[in-house]
């Protein structure tokens, strides 16, 4: 199984989840209120309009599902700052 960690601007978190639902991933976990720094400068939580925060969405699923998710998500990253990280993982059940 593959684990995809998506870091995206808070404001686009909803869209990312919507895309994941459409792709039909088996589930995901969201961590909000992240800070950070990247090439687009630093993101810190003190901004009333909330556009300077990030969220992390973690998805674990079969490689095929993850790949189709990645394709759909790339569109979002054309416009919004964030990152996608992929790694191997094993699901216990």
């Amino acid at each position: 199984m593959k684990k995809l960690e998506i870091i995206i601007e808070a404001i686009e978190r909803r869209r990312v989840c919507k895309i994941l639902d459409e792709v039909g991933v088996s589930g995901y976990t969201v961590i909000d209120d992240l800070q950070g720094r990247g090439k687009s400068g630093s993101k810190n939580a003190s901004d009333p309009s909330n556009i300077l925060k990030s969220s992390m969405i973690i998805v674990v699923d079969e490689e095929s599902v993850i790949n189709s998710a990645i394709d759909k998500l790339k569109e979002v990253f054309k416009f919004y700052s964030g990152k996608m990280f992929l790694s191997d993982i094993q699901v216990i059940d």
Binding site: D47, S49, I51, F79
Partner: protein
Amino acid sequence: MEFLSDALSNFTSPMILFFVLGFIATILKSDIEIPDVITKTLAIYFMIAIGLKGGFEISKSGIDENLYSAVFNSLLIGFFVPLIAFLILKFIGRFDSTNSGAIAAHYGSVSVVTFVTAISFLNSKSEPFSGYMVGMMALMESPAIFVSLLLVRIFDSQKIASLKSNTVDLLKESLFNASVVLLFGSLLIGLAVGEKGISVVKPFFIDPFNGVLTLFLLDMGMIAGKRISEFKAVGVFLFFFALIMPLISASLTIGLTNLFGFSTGDSLLFSVLAASASYIAAPAAVRIALPKANPAYYITMSLAITFPFNIILGIPLYYFILNLFR
């Protein structure tokens, strides 16, 4: 000179002084952290409080024909302010349409807290104003944003790059935008509940109002202070634009309000709404509609330059100019 005394008296207002304190504190790197969730909650508190108060005032005064001219005036401002801003930015500032439109949207839209500060300024001068002005603020939040997006569409050779779905979402969202719903909702409730209802919430929403504003402005001062580091990114032109644009919007509005013959109080509030730049509704909307625009520009300008300018100098200045014509 009255303006000076007003401007100075402004400096014996705890709200303004705490804003300055917050600003200084941040520069001194002494991090007095007011948690985000508190800021969010206070913003909601203000919208409810002014909504209730406004609605209650209307229930007392009744709706006079002025209301229609007020609505018309709001729409005029909501159209011309972003247009002027856009043209200045694009043809004098030589910015691309996307960034010009993004910034124009902020200056066309309004800042709730600047408005709230103006209200407590008027109260301190016991200068009356109409209850429906809160409604005008709610009314003026979104149109300017759409005007700006339109301008970008018109001037942008290739259609704006953004995710298809977005503009549709945006229309939905800004129509039932959190603050719009909250302001109009509270306004209606204030209208409905009357004297008795208001007295019930007075000890929470009315009496502590200025004190809460003090705490909130301390926080705003820190938030503004934190963005100074971005001034270089903003550059000289935008820096001065952020100081001069409010003057242009205010002057235009003072002219309009004289034509319409609004009361001094209402005229000041209109001028402040025109002069203020949004830092909550607009950034969120623009980030969605114009993702290619640079947030460092518009957030820094509205939060760290225009907002402080308006609450510290702008409000008394507009008030002074207004009175020259009376």
